[in-house]
Each structure stands twice: as structure tokens, then as C-alpha cells.
Amino acid sequence: MNPATQTVPGDYRQPRRTEQVILFTVGEHLFAIAADSIAEIRSTDSLAGAAMELTNSTVPKVRHTAQRGRSSYFVVRASLHFRLPLTRPTLVFILRQTRIAVLVDAIERMASISKLSALPQAFCGEERQWYRGLTLIDDRVVPVVNPMGFLSAQEIAILDEAVAGGAVEALPEQESTIV
């Protein structure tokens, strides 16, 4: 028997599972998000025509809704979500299986990760909702964001109420930007 094809009894090792992530930036920080959690990536310019302003939003990080097909998405500013200084986003991630879209500054590249480490327990603030964990990419620690963590169910309910109460307005043409 060719040794190269010989199997070792009891060796049930599976090929290592990997996950495709998109590396994106907000301000000076690099984040990763599972590629399969994103339905579409648009430029903020292209989204502007489909955006409505939430005039009385009580969730400061959401000031707009965006339409995609028949669905409406709450647009979250990632800089405010992560408590960072305001940035100038150029892209919008429209997330799958949620009603959330996220404004980010730029995409760095795609990467493949094979290990996701749990967030150390010493981190006990809001970041526990923000991140699925941490990963090492090119010897750099990168937080992997939790797509469901951008808005809580309570925040979505509040925003739904604002929309139902008529707090949305189409953006004037001269100001057709969601940035």
C-alpha cells in the first residue's frame, strides 16, 4: 500500500473549518465580520436615494432607514455604535436576517479565519454584545463583530415606534446623503 494514502486507524481528524470574513475599518480600528452575514455592500452615495431620515430618533446611532426591495433597514453608524469619534463612512453593509444596515469607513480585504477566541471575561461591558470573539489575522488581534449586536430588540422596537409615528422624511435632493 502506498504510505501516502494509508490511513491511520482512529484518525478522525476533520479538515480545519474556516470562515470567510470581511475586514473593515471604522476610524483607526480594524474589525472583522462574517462574510455570510452580509447581504449586500453599497456605497453611501448609491444608498442615498433609498434612504429616509428618522427625524425623532431616540437611538442616536440610527438617523436613517434604507429601503432594499420591500424591506426597510435601520442604518447604524458604526462609529457611534463603537463609541468612536465621528468618521466619514463610505460604505453600507446590509446585513442578512436582520433589519440592520451598518455604515463603515472602508473595506480593507477579505480573510479566512480558522479560530475564534472567546472575548476574555475581563471584558464585561457592552463589547460582550458587540463582538462574537477575537481572532488573529496576520499576527494582529482583530475583533469579530456580532451582526445581531448592532441593535438590541428593544432599540428596534423603539425605532419601529418612531417610524410608525411618522418620524421619517425623505431626504431633500440637495442633501441626499446619509453620511
Binding site: 471575561q121 475581563a122 471584558f123 458587540w130 482583530v142
Partner: protein
């Protein structure tokens, strides 16, 4: 029943922070490492500076000097890697210290109510009273659940 206090000599790591000395039980100290690359990302937990990578582990860095001294340690920073007990098990945590750490053997007396909650006890070393730190109360994160009174170990006190 006679209460007795049993004082046993233990090993401690003595840390120098801003002109003061503190002690940690040597049992929980893994190693002292040179300053390396620190990674930061947004979070809202106080006194966490970021993380470092050590032996394949992602280790949070807790600036405990800020809580002990009211100021961040800036000079001669090394990292003392210690094991911190959390509600979901033990994890490593990196503590910025000056490079001058020493291993001593001493007898620790338990802290009374006069001490801050993060002081587990105190010991006398070279004529100085040194506080022994309780990492679980000094660093952020969920505390390990305490045992119910019926299951806790009784303390013997010998005069």
C-alpha cells in the same frame, strides 16, 4: 469551641508600583514578560488597556495601577501574567508593573474590614506592611460565585 489562627508561610511576588509595594500570591503568577505589542479595539470596560498575545493566548491587559495609585503606570512597564478566577473559569490577565518584582516567602494575615475590598490580606516585609492583592476584586469581570455558607471551608483560628 476555641478559635485558632493558623498562619502559614507562603510565597508571594512583590511588585513595585509608583514607589509602593504590593504582593500577589505566587500561586497565581505565571510569568513576567517584557513589553510587547499591545492590540486595542473599542470596548467600554474600565481599566482595560487592550490585549497582548502570549503563547497563543489572547490576554487582556488591566491597568490596575490606576485603581491602586490613581495614576497610570508609564515607565519601565513589564507585564506580570497572572491567573484570574472568573465565574466561568480561570483566565490569564496581564498586569503592567515595573520590572522590579521579587519572590518572597512570608506569612499573610487576613485583611480586616479596614482594608479596601481588593486587599486579601497583608504581610510584613523588611519593616513595611505590604498589601496582598485579591485579583478578582481588583480587575474587571464577573466574580466567581461564592460557595453557599454550608459548603464553605470553615476557618480555624489559632491564638
Amino acid at each position: 469551641m476555641n478559635a485558632t489562627l493558623e498562619v502559614v508561610a507562603q510565597s508571594f511576588v512583590l511588585l513595585h508600583l509608583g514607589g509602593r509595594r504590593f504582593a500577589l500570591s505566587a500561586d497565581i503568577v505565571a510569568e513576567l514578560v517584557q513589553p510587547g505589542r499591545v492590540f486595542t479595539f473599542p470596548h467600554t470596560t474600565e481599566n482595560l488597556e487592550g490585549v497582548l498575545v502570549r503563547r497563543g493566548h489572547i490576554v487582556p491587559i488591566c491597568d490596575f495601577a490606576r485603581r491602586l495609585l490613581g495614576a497610570r503606570l508609564t515607565d519601565n512597564r513589564y507585564y506580570l501574567i497572572a491567573r484570574r478566577r472568573f465565574s466561568l473559569g480561570i483566565e490569564w490577565i496581564a498586569l503592567p508593573v515595573t520590572g522590579q518584582c521579587e519572590l518572597i516567602t512570608a506569612e499573610m494575615l487576613p485583611a480586616t474590614g479596614d482594608y479596601a475590598p481588593h486587599v486579601a490580606g497583608w504581610l510584613s516585609h523588611e519593616g513595611e506592611i505590604v498589601e496582598v492583592l485579591d485579583l478578582a476584586r481588583l480587575t474587571p469581570g464577573p466574580l466567581e460565585e461564592t460557595l453557599p455558607a454550608s459548603e464553605s471551608t470553615p476557618i480555624e483560628i489559632h491564638p
